[in-house]
Amino acid sequence: MFTQLCETVLSVRPSRLRAAAFVMLVAIASCCAGCGDKGERLDGVDLTNLSFQLYASDMGVYPSTSVLGDPNNPFVHVSADALNNGTPAQPALKWTISATAPAPVAFYSWATALATAPNGENQYYTATKLHAIYTDQLAAPADIPTVKQMAIAAYTAVLTYFPEDYGRNADGTLAFDFATPSLQAIIALGGAAPQGWELVTGSDGTPRAVRI
């Protein structure tokens, strides 16, 4: 067919029009050459069998971003905006997953959010998911002690790097500080309170983490 097309072009008279026809021939040939295949169909990622794999012992602990290099992390291609930003009607992806998904799935989502948008909220919930993986023994038995230490380190990072951050309700009002449950968890996990931090009981009887 291409040969016939060429012959047709060469037969065009006068020469000016023949040259113009040649231009069109190149364009058509280029079009054919430029057509590519469709690539691999993108579908949703089934997280049913997603388990926690120990890729690095500092995963989920600020300032490490090693979780972004973990091939087991399904959220690597999810943008920080999609993970973190949402509205009351359409909550951010991290909240949707946190509410319904198993702890390993939620861990990867929070840790990825933390690595791309560091703040107290992302650090705290990453720590809770590590805590849950340890508590529910959702990692390989050999890794469980390490996961415990990772949870303690993650809670400690809340106190070290984001001590003033608060959790908020959906309407934006302050709900609770992240420091107190973090320090409580560190103690519960058998860790030592970070230097300068102490758990005290307020006049209303509620415990509160304070810096001394």
Binding site: R16, V23, L47, A82
Partner: protein, 1030 residues
């Protein structure tokens, strides 16, 4: 004794001119007296003007003053004839003759520098075309009828070395051609003969001369000599013409007049003005002219000559730019002159005058500075070679007494008065002093308090030119204070302008790039350039100085585009263009290399090499570009959103061009972006099913392959006749990004191909010319191979424990390719043009300076059908960071109607523009903007008034359109009064007042709020200024 008497007709008051031939030779006899032509070629071009300037369009008072000065000086040294390219109107020929006794030659160029026929500008005349021949003869006939009874005309002349025009490619002087174009020459000289005979049908009172380049094609001329009385020749053989006279006598049997001869006064060997060697050359040339005159026993056919030229023309090199620079670049070689060095050019086109010229007064009058030759020629012309008893020996003895050195002191004295002689000069000093008052209404960020601020800034240009081989210019800016209260606060002198006065929409995803608006030093290098010549190469280095591209040298894919950005690089303090070009010479004359941090605005640090070989009508071009780093590593690489450097790339192209009559075919291929092979990308395709994450799209992940780095393009352009047209087709792979097209095809169309890869495109247009009118439809169809990505929100399906990662529009920072100006488009354009003087092209950036038509105007309508959207552009946040927008406005058609015009109803110089259109924001905001406006510029004597209004339009900076910030009404006005010096008729030292007013609504930057819906805010500014140029 035979005499060919050219008898004046009874009604003509002109002289009686005879061409006498006898055994002693040939001579002119005027009114009964022997007459040897002691002439000069004369043109009058004030510094800063070019070939478009005509003294004869100036007020009579100025013309009379100029003639008194210039013709008076000629009269004083004995000049008796002038040859003028811009032939004076008959009344001025008569005036010159009757007042100063100086004759004129009336020279018809016979299409040498192009013609306007039926409204079409034809740069290269085809003398074999019967229609063209008839046209040229009819134009000549009109001229003959208009001039034939004018007293003071010595002879008619035909052409100006038109034989060189058969080979040269432009109007500029090039190396004298050695190859012959016999068939074209036959056509041309037969026309010259016909023209000579035509003249004689109307006027037999004056002889007719041909103006040939040297003796080229003498054999063909001999066959077409009917009607010719004199062989005029432009002669650049150096001090002696040798056997020229004898050869003409033998082959043509005609007398000879040198219609041009001489020597330039710039010594290319030493790099300095050299009036002495110019005079020495002229002395020897005149001696030879006299020796070959009637009755001396040699060829005896010399009638005299016209020294080229009376005074310098500062526009000759470049012709349209550097008009106020006395350029010392030699543009062609001639070995027989005093300053020749083998392998190098030595002919300096801007230095041929026997007089230099000085800066013009406001009305265009300028004074001359006489060179040595001027003083010497006075004595040369005292000799009458026809006087009784004058022999060759007498002439030789006379010239022994004339030594050029003796005439040097007065010329040196004049030069010393004008020039200190230092190679280091202060070439420009611009002082800008401004006071700005601005205010707004209460509901604006500016508030309702009047604010005052001021600007004091100085620009100092220093040039260094130790020789003609080296030129360097450094321009420094010192700003003591920059007004912070301007309505438009982003300008060059404001080193750190305030943050953008708007709240940026949330940018979505991707990394950000820090943006700098410039340094904080009050002293900055504003511009710098270096031009150096070496026997093997020319070097042109530039820092914020524009340059031409290689579009017309085979660069089909625009890897090295034109880089003139005018005020834009100043506004955004861009450090571009910044780099250097090395152009090979001798054995490397087909090679060029460009390199630098930003060879054009938006380029990465790169090196580009080009090989371009002309093989008769076919040319071959090979280019390679290698980016060596990302522009992001450089300060000031990203200063505005419209110019975001692309990813580091590598590009290779191969192209072939072929001339087919008046048509041109270019075909080429490109290989680009190989660094991105293997990069992953996503794409989404609409589906009728639920699709990915119930989005209505099927999504795919793919990787860039080698096939995506390839592209091809073909372009056919035909400029023959009144229906010029072009066709162009291209296909470029996903990452096969080429450069931006800054070239002009046929006319001023605005629809052009996008340089971006990932597209299949076709363009075509035809320009139909009817007299002074042009109708030019143009069309574009383009479609990306992979379309833009929609926004698909990421989601998690708890029921199936499935994660759907989000899909976003691609962007330049995070993806291997994007769909932006290569978006799917079907566009049509209709351009209407009225231009009665197409020789001064209407579609040039400096039209306001050059367009000489009483009225010229264009109207351009462009409609773009855009069935799909595009990917994300890059915006700049108020924090100064460049980040991708999270999306794009929805698919929508857009259109624009623009008009431009200029008029020259003396004494006014007017120009204006108007527009009306509907378009989209650059960012993400979906609001469609329908805007319109107009501008007007009036020049009248020393006053200049400009004004512009805009309705519902974006503000003046890129970020306004990025964030879709519009003003209901904007007005700008500026009126000023000028002092010296003048450039293009506009005086450069100006006092003026500038005003600005705009109304604001909820879509405007800086509008705060109002409890009353529909209320508006206002802002205004008044600036008084003095811009003093010295």
């Amino acid at each position: 004794m035979g005499a060919l008497a050219f008898e004046p007709e009874a009604r003509a008051a002109g002289p009686k001119i005879e061409l006498v031939r006898d055994a002693s030779g040939d001579k002119l006899v005027v009114n009964g007296h022997d007459f040897i032509v002691k002439g000069v070629v004369w043109s009058y071009s004030p510094i800063g003007t070019n070939y478009a300037y005509s003294l004869w369009n100036q007020p009579d008072a100025l013309i009379e003053r100029v003639l008194a000065d210039q013709m008076g000086a000629m009269q004083r040294i004995g000049i008796n004839a002038i040859r003028v390219f811009d032939v004076p109107p008959p009344r001025w020929i008569k005036y010159i003759y009757e007042t100063y006794g100086i004759y004129n030659i009336v020279d018809n160029m016979m299409g040498r520098y192009g013609v306007t026929r039926d409204g079409v500008w034809i740069a290269h005349v085809n003398y074999a075309d019967p229609d063209m021949r008839a046209f040229l003869l009819s134009e000549l006939q009109k001229q003959v009828i208009a001039y034939k009874d004018t007293p003071g005309i010595l002879m008619w002349a035909l052409g100006n070395e038109n034989n060189y025009g058969l080979t040269w490619t432009s109007a500029e002087a090039e190396a004298l051609p050695t190859k012959r174009e016999d068939s074209r020459a036959e056509a041309m000289y037969s026309l010259m003969s016909a023209a000579a005979q035509l003249i004689k049908r109307f006027d037999q009172s004056k002889p007719v001369a041909l103006v040939n380049g040297d003796l080229q094609y003498l054999d063909i001329i001999a066959k077409n000599a009917q009607g010719l009385d004199i062989f005029g020749t432009n002669q650049y053989r150096g001090p002696v013409a040798g056997k020229l006279y004898a050869e003409v006598k033998q082959k043509l049997h005609l007398p000879v007049v040198f219609t041009e001869f001489g020597a330039d006064a710039f010594n290319a060997r030493t790099g300095h003005e050299d009036g002495l060697n110019q005079a020495r050359t002229l002395r020897r040339q005149w001696q030879e002219i006299y020796e070959n005159s009637y009755g001396k026993g040699y060829a005896a056919n010399s009638l005299g000559g016209f020294v080229f030229q009376w005074e310098d023309d500062w526009w000759k090199v470049g012709q349209d730019y550097d008009l106020d620079v006395h350029n010392t670049t030699a543009t062609w070689p001639q070995a027989s002159y005093y300053d020749y060095v083998p392998g190098e050019n030595n002919m300096n086109e801007e230095w041929w005058g026997i007089n230099g010229i000085q800066a013009a007064e406001p009305d265009g009058f300028f004074h001359m500075r006489h060179r040595t030759a001027y003083f010497m020629l006075k004595d040369v012309f005292k000799l009458n070679p026809y006087a009784d008893g004058v022999t060759v020996q007498t002439i030789r003895d006379y010239f022994v007494g004339i030594q050029a050195d003796d005439y040097e002191p007065p010329a040196e004295a004049e030069l010393a008065r004008e020039d200190s002689g230092s190679p280091l000069k202060l070439s420009r000093l611009l002082l800008k002093l401004e006071t700005t008052s601005s205010a707004g209404t209460k509901n604006t960020a500016r508030g309702d308090r009047n604010t005052f601020d001021h600007l004091e800034s100085a620009y100092v240009d220093v040039t260094l030119q130790p020789s003609s081989k080296l030129y360097a210019r450094l321009s420094l800016n010192f700003t003591a204070n920059a007004a912070q209260n301007r309505l438009d606060p982003i300008y060059y002198e404001n080193v750190v302008p305030p943050a953008h006065p708007y709240v940026a929409p949330t940018a979505n995803g991707g990394k950000s790039v820090a943006v700098s608006q410039g340094g904080t030093s009050p002293l900055n290098v504003y511009q710098a350039e270096i031009k150096a010549e070496h026997p093997w190469f020319d070097l042109n280095a530039f820092y914020r100085v524009g340059h031409t591209g290689w579009d017309y040298e085979g660069d089909l894919f625009h890897l090295y585009p034109e880089a003139y950005y005018q005020e834009a690089v100043d506004t955004y303090r861009a450090v571009a263009p910044f780099g250097a070009v090395i152009s090979g010479k001798r054995a490397f004359s087909d090679f060029k290399v460009a390199f630098g941090p930003a060879v054009y605005w938006g380029a990465n640090p790169t090196i580009i090499g080009k090989y371009h070989k002309e093989l008769g009508p076919v040319s071959v071009t090979a280019m390679h570009q290698e980016d060596v780093a990302s522009a992001a590593v450089l300060p000031n690489s990203t200063t505005t959103s419209s110019v975001i450097p692309g990813p580091v790339t590598r590009r290779s192209t191969l192209g072939v061009g072929a001339e087919i009559g008046e048509s041109h075919l270019e075909v080429g291929g490109i290989f680009a972006g190989s660094q991105r092979v293997g990069d992953e990308y996503t794409r989404a395709v609409k589906t009728s099913a639920a699709g990915y994450a119930n989005s209505g799209y099927d999504a795919f992940v793919d990787r860039v392959g080698w096939g995506d780095t390839l592209g091809a393009k073909a372009k056919f352009t035909s400029t023959a006749g009144p229906a010029a047209f072009y066709l162009q087709g291209a296909a470029k792979g996903l990452v096969t990004d080429a450069g931006p097209d800054t070239s002009t095809t046929i006319t001023g169309w605005s629809l052009k191909e996008s340089g971006r890869g990932n597209q299949l495109s076709a363009l075509g247009g035809v320009a139909l010319t009817f007299g002074s009118f042009q109708i030019a439809p143009n069309g574009l169809i383009q479609k990306p191979f992979v379309g833009p990505n929609p926004t698909i929100t990421g989601s998690y399906d708890a029921a199936t424990n499935t994660l759907f990662r989000p899909i976003r529009p691609r962007n330049q920072f995070d993806d291997p390719f994007v769909v932006l100006d290569n978006r799917e488009t079907e566009a049509g354009e209709l351009l209407l043009l009225y231009d009665p003087t197409p020789a001064t092209r209407f579609f040039t950036w400096d039209r306001v300076n050059h367009e000489d038509a009483p009225f010229a105007g264009s109207l351009d309508f462009v409609y773009r059908h855009q069935p799909t959207s595009r990917d994300s552009r890059i915006g700049i946040l108020d924090t100064g960071q460049a980040v991708p927008f999270g999306g794009a406005p929805p698919a929508h058609d857009v259109w624009d109607l623009t008009g431009n015009w200029s008029a020259n109803p003396l004494p006014f110089r007017l120009s204006g523009s108007a527009y009306f259109g509907q378009n989209q924001a650059n960012g993400i905001d979906p609001r469609l903007v329908t805007r319109y406006g107009a501008g007007l510029r009036i020049g009248w004597e020393d006053f200049l008034f400009t004004t512009r209004v805009a309705f519902n339009d974006w503000g003046p900076y890129d970020y306004y359109r990025d964030y879709n910030l519009t003003y209901p009404f904007q007005w700008y006005g500026d009126t000023s009064w000028g002092l010296f010096p003048a450039l293009f008729g506009i005086k450069q030292t100006r006092f003026g007042v500038r005003g600005q007013f705009r109304t604001m609504d909820a879509h405007s930057a800086g509008w705060l709020y109002s409890t009353n819906p529909g209320t508006r805010g206002d802002e205004w500014e008044v600036t008084t200024y003095v811009h003093a140029t010295l």
